[in-house]
């Protein structure tokens, strides 16, 4: 199973609003207004619960963009 950006985009839209529709794999949190620490926690937990995975703090620290997040997620599926 491989998850694409389009599959998890609804989570970004739910948390960040319509502006999340233009997020690409190169997008960084700092590129999106409203993607603060609270929003980040909500996104990470929503993905964990949807796919039944658990990220590690170190993994999150190494992610710099949405593409990194998807790569780490797919490594757990």
């Amino acid at each position: 199973m491989t998850v694409s950006l389009e599959e998890i985009r609804p989570i970004f839209v739910d948390v960040l609003g319509e502006k999340a529709r233009i997020i690409t794999e190169k997008t960084r949190a700092s590129d999106v207004e409203g993607w603060d620490s609270f929003a980040h926690i909500t996104i990470v937990v929503a993905v964990e619960e949807k796919y039944g995975v658990a990220f590690k703090t170190e993994e999150l620290g190494q992610m710099t963009c949405v593409g990194d997040f998807i790569t780490v997620l797919n490594g757990k599926l």
Binding site: I41, V44, V45, A54, T57, E59
Partner: protein, 138 residues
């Protein structure tokens, strides 16, 4: 050796139960504080005309007691309440003695967030409200 983080203090299954009395004066004080003076809260007659057994405690008064548990007991000082939802299933009419239980049902180690279940039970055993909250541990 790794340092213990605040989130490590908590495990799924941890819970706190508090017995909370409900008095008419609590409803008066909450109505004064919130401005919610709806007739079903303030008048026993108005409540009876709507098929209720007496003045009904505000749902968010019950929620404020849940907030007190989350803020002082589980997780307590190290938590920041992020979300809370409550579904009100049966009216609470004073005097009553509620059993309010908050329990850890999930946790995200990566971001330090606890998922909590909420159950509020009347003294007759009827569940008055259920809900869920999330708290960030820092």
């Amino acid at each position: 050796m790794s340092l213990e983080r605040a989130i490590d203090q908590f495990a799924v299954g941890d819970s706190v139960t508090v017995r909370q009395p409900v008095r008419a004066e609590d409803i008066d004080r909450f109505a004064d504080l919130s401005g919610d003076t709806s007739a079903i809260h303030m008048s026993a007659d108005a409540a009876a005309s709507r098929g209720l057994g007496g003045r009904v405690a505000h749902g968010l008064l019950l929620g404020s007691w849940v907030s007190a548990i989350i803020g002082t007991r589980l997780p307590g000082d190290c938590g920041i309440l992020q979300t809370i939802s409550l579904a009100f299933r049966a009216p609470v009419v004073p005097p009553d003695l509620l059993k309010i239980t908050v329990a850890v049902t999930g946790k995200s180690e990566a971001v330090g967030q606890l998922k909590l279940s909420i159950t509020i039970e009347r003294s007759d055993g009827i569940v008055a409200a259920t809900g869920e909250a999330r708290s960030i541990i820092k």
